[in-house]
Amino acid sequence: MKNFIISQAPHIHSDNTTRKLMRDVIIALLPAALVSVYFMGFPVLYMILISIGSAVLFEYLIKKFVMKTKPTVNDLSAVVTGLLLGLNLPPATPLWVVIIGSFVAIAIAKMTFGGLGQNIWNPALVGRVFLLISFPVFLTNWSYDIPSWISSVDAFSGATPLGLIKEGLAGGSSVQDLIAANPQLSNSQMFLAKSGGSAGEVSAIALILGFIYLLIRKVIKPHITLSILVTVFVFSGIFWLSDPTQYMDPIFNLLSGGLLLGSIFMATDYVTSPMNPKAQIVYGVGIGVLTVLIRLFGSYPEGVSFAILIMNSIVPLLNKYMKPKRFGRVK
């Protein structure tokens, strides 16, 4: 009599795997990565590759020699972290700085908590913020050598749009003056990728394409991203309506900074975002509000990274108190 396999039901499994989900995220990020390499040149490519490679290496080494368990780099989560970190940094960041950032992201923000699924804060953002605080000069230097095939020019050296606005407003000019002086601040320019910023910020279209891909592949649901974007739009819109000379319009706020990259790829990271739909909306609203506040009243021009990290801290609380709708419970 043959030995049959006995197990509990269910006896079949979908073909979802962690690796497939991570692979879809990488594919969704490819348009933005390719656009940034096209506009900013090979340094960005090297930066991204080093970031990914060092992230994978650190995870492998730590899992094998420090945690003494089987290395799980196959699940591609370190690749995603490395890619996101690379896309979050200015294009001329020295490679040794990138490696340090990658180390902080993987070893400190992910492995010390126990590995995949156990960390509280988004590893790529922790890496970026660590670099921002430790190496402020490198991380706020947005100029780089323009690749020779780009002729459209002077749009690329200098500060990011948000940086320009912050400094300009502090210097006393009004919003209209600044837009007249700097053509890259127009919304159409930013949508199409002709303004400065970190490698991943440059093209709104590419990022939105990635978002649509993730939605189609059912990797993420739209709740978090849409609640962040709507909140930012509404909240910054209120300020703009109150004084259009001191505040940029809501569309500018949506397109500038790392908001699109953050809301589509960083805030929706599975491990650090809430799991229940209601909690996800509250999370998104919180990130939106904090982003606008930091941008308008904080000393940093860009607020998405900090906003996401702050909201990551209260995710366990959100998960605990905002449970999903139960079947058969009368409200």
């Binding site: 009599m1 030995n3 049959f4 396999i5 006995i6 197990s7 509990q8």
Partner: protein, 308 residues
């Protein structure tokens, strides 16, 4: 400049003193009056908080002892008789000496002796297998080998032997708290007397099927032939439902039963190797196994137990 330092030091010191005073007053006001003996007994307890005494930790044990009128029913398996004597002295009660016990795994269905009849695929939990079916061998009373007992032990006294598929007790660490007994869904583990010189004799089988069925499922099974019951000079062995059981209070460790058992279902712990023992095994074994093989397996078993 110096003024600032003086001001700072003075302010902080005063603040610190004030707060310390507040804490002191609060601690005095809200102090819970407790029998001081609870603290005394808790200090004697080993502090393992294992629950082996039946209470929720060492403090709960102390509280209940102070409430009780005698030490009947109270025993700390980790601290043993030493600790109980000290507790008795503190409370002024009498205490009986408990015979030291140890956990014994009463199954010898190794991977070699007990062939698999199915492949179990799923979560590694004995409890789950028990709810699903009879286990992946022909014996539905035997050890499932997934290690619920190992997980339950907080004293690191159980280890799963990957070759045999059975758990092994570390005699130095086991305090007979009973956690593994509760964790085993098959009821295989028993707390038995540690025995003189740490030696024990026990039937390593739980199979209540008829002899032929049991033997087919496992080469080390007890077939209920009653030879052990007949030969025991101290009336310590009873065979019921085709399964033999040795009463550990009556057993005198003479090992006459071990010699007559045809399947080798009765195991011994910590006895010195006896060459004569192995030869008897092979002679009496009805299946006609290779003598050298049986001898070497028996020697391996004995020496493993000595090392454990």
């Amino acid at each position: 400049m110096i003024n600032i330092i003086i001001y700072t030091v003075v302010t902080l010191s005063v603040l610190g003193l004030l707060l310390a005073l507040v804490l002191f007053l609060i601690a005095r006001k809200f102090k819970v009056e407790e029998d001081p003996r609870i603290d005394q007994i808790e200090a004697i307890m080993p502090g393992a908080n294992c629950g082996g005494c039946g209470f929720a930790g060492c403090r709960a044990f102390s509280e209940n002892v102070v409430k009780a009128t005698s030490l009947d029913g109270f025993f700390c398996p980790v601290g043993g008789n030493e600790v109980m004597k000290k507790v008795a002295a503190t409370m002024g009660y009498a205490v009986e000496e408990n015979v030291p016990k140890i956990a014994v795994v009463r199954c010898n269905g190794t991977c070699e002796a007990r062939p698999k009849t199915s492949v179990y695929d799923g979560i590694s939990s004995c409890k789950v297998i028990k709810t699903l079916y009879q286990g992946d061998t022909g014996c539905k009373y035997g050890c499932f080998g997934q290690g619920d007992c190992v997980e339950a032990c907080v004293f690191n006294a159980l280890k799963m032997n990957t070759e045999t598929g059975l758990p092994e007790v570390n005699e130095d660490n086991c305090v007979a708290c009973g956690a593994c007994v509760k964790a085993c869904p098959q009821g295989i583990i028993e707390l038995r007397n540690k025995g003189m010189k740490n030696r024990r004799v026990y039937v390593a089988c739980m199979n209540q099927d008829k002899g032929g069925v049991a033997r087919k499922a496992c080469a080390n099974a007890c077939i209920g032939c009653k030879k052990c019951e007949q030969v025991c000079p101290f009336d310590a062995i009873k065979v019921e439902n085709f399964l033999s059981y040795i009463d550990y209070d009556k057993c005198r460790l003479c090992r006459k039963c071990v010699d007559v058992c045809p399947t080798g279902a009765i195991l011994t712990d910590n006895f010195p190797l006896k060459k004569k023992l192995e030869i008897n095994h092979a002679e009496v074994n009805p299946i006609g196994v290779n003598h050298a093989e049986v001898k070497s397996i028996a020697i391996k078993q004995e020496s493993k137990k000595m090392e454990a």
